[in-house]
Point group: C2
Chain length 261, copies 2
Amino acid sequence: MQIACLQAAGTPGDVEANLAALDAACAEAAAHGADLLVTDEMFVTGYDIGELVHELAREDLLARVAEIARRHAIAVVAGLPELDGAACYNTAALVGPDGALLARHRKAHLFGALDRAVFAAGDELVTLVDLADVRIALLICYDVEFPESVRAAAAGGAHVVLVPTAQMEPFGFVADQLIRVRAWENQVYVAYVNHDGREGSLEYVGSSSVVGPSGEVLAAAGHGDVLLYASIDPAVVAEQQEANPYLADRRPELYGGLTRP
Amino acid sequence: MQIACLQAAGTPGDVEANLAALDAACAEAAAHGADLLVTDEMFVTGYDIGELVHELAREDLLARVAEIARRHAIAVVAGLPELDGAACYNTAALVGPDGALLARHRKAHLFGALDRAVFAAGDELVTLVDLADVRIALLICYDVEFPESVRAAAAGGAHVVLVPTAQMEPFGFVADQLIRVRAWENQVYVAYVNHDGREGSLEYVGSSSVVGPSGEVLAAAGHGDVLLYASIDPAVVAEQQEANPYLADRRPELYGGLTRP
């Protein structure tokens, strides 16, 4: 499976502009042969836009994304807000190349006042879904910084962890160092897809990357709007998990303390 | 607390030579003002020495280490084999500056045939012990590569994780990348104290380091016999864990899956 990762500044608060950018990126990625395009966190509306996110979430954003995916016959993981009753979630939705909703992950680890002011926390540690022969794990931003989340993905058989994010200064360490270690310690692919530019009070670090199961950087961006491409091969995951058997060598019977508050 | 980390090639299979090297290192570290010296994994006997380790373990190695610690009035974490009935453990023992045994950690995650051929696995995920105002966590080598181990250390209030290791090619990624992330994701100090040189079939990577609670490298070795020094300040751990609140933001109620075989 070939994936395309859209690092972009986006247009905070302007859904039409962001959907137009998604449309153009899907056209380019599909022409390049990609099977799946991944956006950054809350790409459809912007992330640091305060209460406006609740207003924008009232539109059927998912239907708009699905229409774009279907038209270009490419699967899409899109970051967008999701209303459920009174709650608004920070969500990554996967739609198939036919526009069908296949899975959605609600950010489970909320980041500071930025998230807590507007979002409710999801109650699934990780969301797993199969697309063709690849098992995908969905996480969002801060989720991936917790080793527990990626471990749960790998233990669930994930081949690739897709992580829309909105990582800002001074947290470049996560993009530069932590993502490779998450891939290495689980021997899975990790795609970390970030905003770039400025938004509200935030200066994003860009530095999106796709890392392979032995921590090798397969594709990486600096700053700027970029489409990164990488191939995901489940056979490589199987080989590497046998060569470096962290998952087999775990001692889960000793890990009970990790579940205590 | 000032710690000294002894990276050394050692003399595989020669206890007297290794104890003489420990004695010299303790003298130097104590003169430098260090409160605690940490050796690499199985320093007292050597690591890749096969069945010989069982024979050498019959001597009272711990008493010899304690005598050196007491004579120099410096605490010591020493890597050595430990017999318990028919079982031989890969152990890191902490003796106080008065020579009293304060704690011992038995390697809980065994590494491949190298460990399994001669050692039994310990059944404590991490060993915590207070020395003066510092809470120390003891892990050994492969243990630290499992994020669960360091998380348990931090959740237990550790300020510093001391890791005697025997890390060989082609696993330089662990020394170069993973150790900083373990410190960062828990906001604790990590001291990773490795062998250098060749031993049996192994070519060690050296590259010992002490990393601070924000992932910053405080002291680092390349190749060669080296004593690294660093200061451990519990107040810095408290500050950093508040500034970057991973521990507070965990969702342990979602982590139950991590304890399943």
